[in-house]
Amino acid sequence: MADLLIELFSEEIPARMQARAADDLKKLMTDGMVEAGLTYASAAAFATPRRLCLTVEGLLDASPRTVEERKGPKADAPEKAIEGFLRGAGLTRDDLEERDTPKGKILFAKITKEGRPAAEIIAEVLEQTIRNFPWPKSMRWGSGSLKWVRPLQSILCILSREDGAEVVPLEVEGFASGNVTYGHRFLAPDAITVSSFDDYAAKLKRAFVVLDPAERRDAIWNDATNMAFASGLEVVEDAGLLAEVAGLVEWPVVLMGRIGDDFLDLPPEVLQTSMKEHQKFFSVRNPKTGRIEKFVTVANRTTADDGATILAGNEKVLSARLADAKFFWDNDLRVAKSDEGMAAWVENLQNVTFHNKLGTQAELIERMAVLARELAPMVGADADEAEQAARIAKADLSSEMVYEFPELQGLMGRYYAIAAGMSEEVAAASEEHYAPLGPSDDVPTAPVSIAVALAEKIDKLTGFWAIDEKPTGSKDPFALRRAALGFIRTSLENDLAIPVREVVGSSAHAADAEDLLAFLHDRLKVYLKDQGIRHDIIDACIAMPNNDDLTLLVKRARALSDTLKTDDGENLLQAFKRANNILSQAEAGSNIEYSHGGDIKYAEEDVERALFKALDAAEAVIAPAMQSQDFVTAMSAMASLRPTLDAFFEGVQINTDNDIVRRNRLNLLGRIRTLCASVADLTKIDG
């Protein structure tokens, strides 16, 4: 048994690529070794800005010798077939063995593969791994042709056993493997010779390198939160930033700095975004006021002055950045508070193209305003407020702050709308009309925001439908699937009845309403599938009237899905299908439609009479329940027919000689069909 240690040392690896690269190194190496017969007990990979490291424990010293038996042609097969077999197996005629089998004499070959020493296999697999490493972006350097994420500087590859370590010899494009690594670029740049993983990790730590990214993350987070806590403050959590920062340092040193007084009144989101995007700083907040008062930066080293110079430099850079942000904020507020207000920004959007065929952003706003007004009564919003909100919802796209920080769109609009004296509801729509941005993002719930959000999504969908830019396959450049899902979730989660056909008709675009509705139905199926509602159940409900009211559609589908999960429901479905088949056959042979319902006076059997009565009772419940869209009640009443219906099928023969009785029974089945069809189109259900 041996342990393997590999380190690929290079110039700085982009932070965002490190975790994936460590995983890839582990997978490519272990897969390659196992495929060559070299199994192991455990493996782990690590990354720092300058190195990828893999440690494998309990590795076989050599791959096992293998013997493979291969069955060949019959002994009396034509010479050519035997020759072909020998060529394929790499053997001569003497190596073959003749064996008697029930099918006659057959030739067998034994192919023996000798085991190979671990070092030989490792060298091969590592060379392949280095040459074919799946970096998202790689480069050449100097005069070489090797590609790596940034210039590779050395390869460490050793096998260690109890009696010592040996270098696994290999060479890739002039880089020969060794047992040497280097410490921190500034604090301990000298070469370090290592003999095992434990030795390596320990020596690196003495050379100011924390190998494990999780350890660096934890250290940063602990130090940052402790430091903030000591000042009565808290660090704003940001897992993505933490991972990135941990990927920029080998020896994290946390420093907390001040934000100049001039900038403390900027909106917290502006401070946070500016500090994160430009400087990779964490925001430190006062838990009592919610204001961001300090920042945390992570240096890559200790210094004799305990980071004083580094912190002073960072504070200075931040001040210059925030001076810019404050300049934008002040300018924007001046515009928002002016007489013309946000209208000046909207006017400017006449020069900004939304889409070549769909006009400018200003035209988009005009269309949204009309739609928002139209939608207002359907979502319980005031029509004037909805229109006003739509008119300013995108105004901030012209502001200086959003030009600098596009990710603050909407949010800045909200601040500026308040400054311009608009109501909270109107201002909120600026921020909330973009929602939901992802499948787990919250949908807007305030009526004015809902009106503007739906208006935006409907204009987008109908617009791109009208110019025939629908999503195809994996291509959806205008994120129309996301817009559709946003429309669906906003409608459902707010329990809104939006007649899609009518709303599509009100849009300014000539979109095919049925085609767009079919697209929405498709997206709805995908969405509901995740919630455990099957496609065929939705199809059964789409076949019903008012299928453009998605909320109604989903209520029906949920009730049906729940009903079919019950024993009664499932059996009723079978009974319905049986009734339907019998009717289809009977109707196909004649021109008669058995739809007048039958008459109890022609009933001959008790089970038959019982069914009439059960139907009377069920109809009395179902009709009013359907009227009030109470699908649960309607469907449980429908399912309650099951025992009576089962008894009917068991107890009577539909096709009797007595034609009157036969027709009466068929009409009775017709009544069941009609009743069920008033709830959902059960013929669409599978099974």
Binding site: R140, F186, A299
Partner: protein
């Protein structure tokens, strides 16, 4: 690894930082060139970088390049923004294995104490749509401030770079302000503050920043600029279309550099038009594409010259 020099004294002026960089890169074996004598947007446009990064000839050059970005003009009032500023550029082909150490040596040479500051290499991929060029590298951060761009060129003018050049670009004003501890660029000492006639950056450039900002934003005649753009474009193409054989001397003379001058001119005209605000968002892409087409032609021509590695018609 190269032995890095140590210079303990902090420089006292903008020009001392430039002089130290010149002397440092000269000692590393670079040819110290002079600025290119045309208006360019960045040091990369100097033919010593764009054209010389092509072909297989080895190369090492460093120079200051005055650069113009008309849209960045702020009448000399903004502490950090200028329409005319200096870049320092070093280009070595093939990139040496110790280029990072060489670079850190240059910071030390201009007075950055490596024991007190936090230097980081942060991912930043470089791309120039007008040059049809891209490379991978970093922004170099000193205490959170970007002080240089460090790039391994992968492609220029649509050609793969073989060997690869390592390019270092320093934004001189920002770097110098940091080292000298100055908050407003115009307050920065240009020459030695103890000189008989001490001059600040503002003494040298405040006047011109005002004048050019006014001209760039409001006065430049857009019809003339547009005509210059089109003339430069036409001349560039006309030069490229010439026969390689010069009828007068009987020599093969491919005129990559004169053509490239015209491409640079077109690029600058585009920047001026942009500052005048007469180029719409959709037109922008088209103009950039036209300039890229010119630089591509020039790159194609350069690799047909001896300096670009041409070794005679095999056919």
């Amino acid at each position: 690894m190269a032995k890095v020099e140590f210079m303990s004294q902090t420089p006292r002026s903008f020009q001392e930082i430039i002089l130290r960089l010149q002397s440092y890169w000269a000692r590393q074996g670079c040819a110290i060139l002079q600025p290119y004598d045309m208006e360019v947007g960045a040091g990369t446009f100097h033919p010593a970088t764009t054209l010389r990064s092509l072909g297989d000839q080895h190369w090492a050059a460093a120079y200051v390049q005055p650069s113009r970005r008309p849209t960045d003009g702020r009448y000399g009032e903004n502490p950090n923004r200028l329409q005319h500023y200096y870049q320092y550029q070093a280009l070595i082909k093939p990139s040496p294995p110790n280029l990072q150490e060489l670079y850190l040596g240059s910071l030390e040479a201009i007075g950055v104490d490596m024991d007190l500051h936090d230097i980081r290499f942060v991912e930043d991929d470089w791309e120039s749509p007008t040059l049809g060029a891209w490379g991978l590298g970093w922004e170099v951060w000193c205490d959170g401030m970007e002080v240089s761009q460090f790039t391994y060129f992968q492609q220029v003018g649509g050609h793969d770079c073989h060997p690869v050049s390592g390019e270092l670009t320093y934004g001189l004003e920002r770097l110098a302000m940091y080292i000298l501890g100055v908050d407003h660029v115009m307050d920065m000492p240009f020459n030695d503050p103890d000189a008989p006639i001490p001059l600040s950056y503002g003494d040298v450039f405040k006047q011109t920043e005002e004048e050019y900002a006014r001209w760039n934003f409001d006065v430049a005649n857009t019809e003339v600029l547009l005509r210059h753009f089109e003339e430069a474009e036409a001349e560039c193409k006309a030069i490229i279309e010439q026969e390689h054989m010069d009828p007068k001397t009987g020599k093969r003379i491919v005129m990559a550099h004169p053509a490239y001058d015209q491409a640079i001119k077109a690029s600058h005209m585009f920047n001026l038009l942009d500052a005048r605000g007469v180029i719409s968002v959709t037109e922008r892409q088209a103009y950039i594409g036209r300039v890229r087409a010119l630089t591509k032609m020039c790159a194609d021509a350069f690799v047909q010259t001896a300096a670009g590695g041409w070794t005679g018609d095999a056919a």
